[in-house]
């Protein structure tokens, strides 16, 4: 399909796309134009997720790092989605956050955006810490604040996709919802073959190969032991291509008709698990109404409404172009796209993002760092600000956050170290995640482990494949079923 370009405005962005955004240059023309009329899409960043699949690094307790503030390549991951929107010249951005996380996120985003010297307004939509609200509920809150279609983006999405192509697919199909799908990221292996990680939750996405209409969508974790396809669906759309290797990126364009449909379905709370399947079912059940008089009647009656309420004339055309059928479509992209939402991918994706998104990631301030000349920092590693590293250390493919202090003779490989960590001498870390404020005493050897916020690793410890959690957290942690790092007796070991 070759989508036609309906709006020259977004086409402009496409040409600008290659320019790195953090240079702060932007087209003044476009902004003036943009201000005169309301934008075609209103962006909403979903940043209220509690990271249930990476809770060891972040969970819903106040005071912890919110999921969207976890660093990916030394940059909080929300930066990537906000930056993506700014790069596409959106000037008003809604960010849905939990009440408790708002201050952290707001202060971070405000300072980051200020650096760009752009006139971007970010509005925070807070939801209660305890309220059990899904993404569709968040949409209900945001929808009345704007009149345009919504662009919903998850804060854990890191992508280089061209938004104008996605928008063209949405416009050309007059779609109720358009989703972005990408091949699941897997680093190229030496023998060229890609292997599937068994831990990945796969998305099963069934598409019509003709026009990329979504006919089936489910996540592996929602499926028990078999997948059923209904005959009615196949009668209407007899050719379905089911992909198991595509990633549903959780970037959606949602039309106003879908938003108004949300009001008729108050029980729909989750976008991905409830709203999307509902739309997919609708397009199959639908009987296309070819009875012209009925259609004409409807226009006529709507027109009456317009006369009475003297609505904006644009809305009259909305009725004319009102889709007779609900259609959900996808846009395929081959651009780099990952979602950082699972623990086992976290280190892998840090490396991948660092490689692929180099132009987006803010550079560290070398002047503030104090790095011994006797220390080797590998090419693929990234250092934060105010880092202090003693002599004779070696770093390979590792990420070191702000204000980290590392003693001499440390060897750090494939590891992510977050802010404010202190590591003493002769420590060896391989494939570890070290959270904020952790202290690792001397002569420790840690492999394949996660060390959670504020933990203190005693000197001489030797752990392989552990989750190290501070004492006070254990009861809280145990309530999560995911907390199973291989051995049931972990808790006892750690509580010593």
């Amino acid at each position: 399909m070759s989508p036609t370009v309906l709006c020259p405005a977004l086409e402009d962005e496409k040409s600008d796309e290659e320019t790195p955004v953090n240079t702060g240059v932007s087209s003044a023309n476009f902004r003036v134009r943009n201000r005169r009329r309301s934008p075609e899409f209103t962006p909403v960043v979903m940043a209220a997720g509690c990271g249930s699949q990476m809770f060891e690094l972040s969970h819903d307790r106040a005071g912890k790092t919110p999921k969207c503030m976890l660093p990916v390549a030394n940059t909080p991951m929300i930066w990537y989605s906000v930056n993506f929107l700014i790069a596409n010249k959106f000037e008003e951005i809604f960010v849905v956050v939990r009440q408790g996380d708002k201050d952290v996120i707001e202060s971070y985003l405000t300072s980051s955006v200020r650096k760009l010297e752009l006139d971007v307004h970010i509005e925070y939509v807070c939801i209660d810490d305890d309220a059990d609200l899904g993404t569709a509920d968040s949409l209900r809150i945001v929808a009345p604040k704007t009149k345009s279609d919504l662009l919903v983006i998850s804060s854990d999405l890191i992508t280089k996709v061209s938004l104008s192509e996605l928008a063209n697919v949405h416009r050309a199909n007059n779609a109720a919802l358009t989703a972005l799908v990408a091949p699941r990221y897997s680093p190229p292996t030496p023998d060229g073959r890609r292997k599937r990680n068994k831990k990945d939750d796969r998305d099963f996405i069934g598409l019509d190969p003709e026009d990329d209409r979504i006919l089936f969508i489910a996540n592996e974790k929602d499926i028990e032991d078999e997948i059923s396809i209904k005959r009615g669906q196949l009668t209407r759309f007899p050719h379905m291509r089911l992909h198991t290797n595509l990633l549903d990126s959780h970037l959606y364009l949602v039309s106003r008709t879908t938003l108004s449909m949300l009001d008729n379905h108050p029980d729909v709370s989750m976008m991905r698990c409830e709203l999307l399947p509902l739309l997919v079912r609708k397009q199959i059940k639908q009987i296309v109404n070819t009875n012209y008089t009925v259609f004409a009647d409807r226009i006529y009656s709507k027109k009456q409404d317009i006369d009475e309420d003297s609505k904006h004339p644009d809305e009259y055309f909305d009725i004319l172009s009102e889709p007779e059928s609900v259609g959900c479509y996808v846009h395929h992209t081959d651009s780099f796209t990952v979602r950082v939402n699972q623990l086992h991918n976290y280190i892998k994706y840090n490396k991948a993002v660092s490689e692929n998104m180099d132009d987006i990631i803010p550079k560290n301030d070398v002047e503030t760092c104090d790095i011994s000349k006797m220390t080797q920092v590998g090419k693929c590693s990234r250092l934060g600000n105010s880092v202090k590293i003693a002599e004779k250390c070696s770093f390979k493919r590792s990420f070191i956050g702000n204000r980290v202090q590392i003693g001499p003779h440390c060897k750090i490989v494939d590891t992510v170290i977050m802010d404010d960590v202190t590591i003493e001498d002769n420590v060896s870390l391989t494939n570890c995640i070290v959270c904020k404020g952790v202290v690792i005493k001397n002569k420790c050897t840690l492999k394949d482990s996660r060390i959670c916020d504020g933990f203190e690793v005693a000197s001489g410890s030797d752990y392989v494949g552990e989750s190290l959690v501070a004492d006070s957290e254990i009861p809280n942690m145990m309530s999560f079923s995911i907390y199973n790092s291989g051995r049931g007796s972990d808790a006892e070991d750690l509580s010593k």
Partner: protein
Amino acid sequence: MYKVCCYPPALSNRVIQLAMRMPANDNVPRQAVIVADSFNSRFKPITLEKPRCLLPLANKPMIDYTLQHLINNGFHDLIILSRSYGSLIDKHIAESRYMERNELVTIRNKKLSPENCNSFGDAMRELSDEGTIRGPFILVTGDMVSNMDMRAAMESHQANKEKDKDAIMTCIFKKVMPGHPTRGLEDDVVVCLNPDTNRLLRFCNANSKRFDYDLDLFNSHDVMDFRYDLMNTYIMICEAHVPARFSDHFDIQDMDSFIKGIIVDEEMCNESIYIHILEHSYAARVSNLRTYASVSHDIINRWTYPVVPDNNSPPDDQYIYRRRGVYLPNSVRPYKAVIHQNTIVGSETTIDRNTHIVDCVIGRKCEIGANVRITNSYIWDEVTIKNDCVIDSAVLCSGATVKQDTTVSAGCILSYDTVVGPSTVLKPGTRVTVAGPRHMRNDSECSNDSEDTRCSDPDNISETDVLGSDHWGVIYQSDEDSDGSSGDEDEQRAEFNRKWYVRHPDCCEFDEISDSSDSTPVPSEPEQDSEIGFYGEVCDSFKAGYAIQKDIDNVLIEVNASKHAYNISVADQLMHSTRALLELCPEVKEFPKYVQYFGPMFMKLAKDRDSQMVILDEIETWALERCRVQDAQRILHILYNDDVLEESNILEWYEGADDDVKSSVAKFIVWLKEAEEESSESD
């Protein structure tokens, strides 16, 4: 080089080309196995007396379609597996003289014993024991109609085999949208395949409301196509050891369960099956009465081109393809009857006046009376239908007779030599036979003709009520109908059988074929419109020209221009001009004036015999339609005097004309003959 005398030249060239291009490679299939028994009873009671593959489909036995297709595709070693009526098949093959026409072709008919062989699987097992299969072969059913070029399929089979040594079979599927009548409801399948390799992954019948797929499938494949727009044509390219697989698993009865077994069952050596999808060419199987009806219509609508009635028929049974999908033999001139559309009429058939025929196949040597309405029906050879009958969506087998004023309702089957009527109404779905169904075995196609059980009983009161006072034959109770408690599947089958007939809307076509260049059938409706439009133009030109006595050459130019605009043939132009002239003239008294004016034009248009016959035929049709038979004589006389019509042509036409017209113009003819004698005498 090769003699294939029965085919038109274009086709025989194609055969030679195919034979030349086929690489001399042992891996290329050379043999074809035709399973000529259906192992079911969908066509009962017709199949009590004849095997299914010999039933006429568009006036040609089904097996001829299969054999011709295979021979045209370069398969010369054909093995027929027949069970019931093997001798009839022998006889048919001997009569059609395939082997004499093409010395390369050998056809062997292997008769299976009806006792030991009760399923497709049994037939395959016997084939395996026989050991006649030497290499890869084509496996088809004896009721297959196709115009596909097998090379593409065989190439894809070859390619699959090179990539995957476990590939044992390539099944050919036709792309047909769900709900299309040619999709037999019984063979409705949903297939799951790998879109890159076309390897078949799952295969299930579409009878259930939902289809469940286990997670194993999704763990082993990244991308899968689930398709409900494919129809199994039961044309398969098999490796030599496929029949042996049937022997290994003695419980496999039919092809579907064989395919399922290969795909899903681990025990079956991990072998794989691929499919080849036909997008543009035609392939279908006549598996039940419903598909019988729809394949007949596909042939009439020329989706199977070049396998169409006017193309591949023997010299003694040639058809001419007329507008609106009507096929008439040279000998039949049904001016009195109205043949609307999509109809084949066999040779030597007579149809009396005021009879209307729509969407029908009518065989050879039939006699159809006056005031009969026949719609959507299949009438075989030597059927007699008396006056005032109504026949809707029925099958009338050879030799059947419908007496006066009888209504044969939808879904009726009158088997061989049955008689119904007079003055009765057959209920929908009535099946009449003279063979004794109650004495027959369950799987009736196998029963031999040894016991001649004519159990018709004219004194039976109830059947006389139903079938009419002169009936011959009994009502056939199918097994499915008689014991209703035999489960869902049988009930469904009975349902299929009762509602076999398909109403053909105008759009009964494969949408996806319509863009292919080699098989573009002429759409019927627009043509009709264009004729009406053309006729209108001609009338206007004539009227205007006559009113001001314009130069007749200019009128002819106008008519010729509209002929090109509406894309009308020369014969049709002449026909419509004649009609316009006759309609324009209000009274026969004024006719000489008109002829004086238009005569030169018609003389230009109709110089030869054929075009003069068109004028004469049109006059006859018009006279009958407008009930002005009495004027025909004057009109002929005037046209003769003005030298538009020639004497010899009038006399020739007179021989074949309608009786009423004949009698009214008799005097003129006598005069003509006398004049001729006089002139010859005077010489």
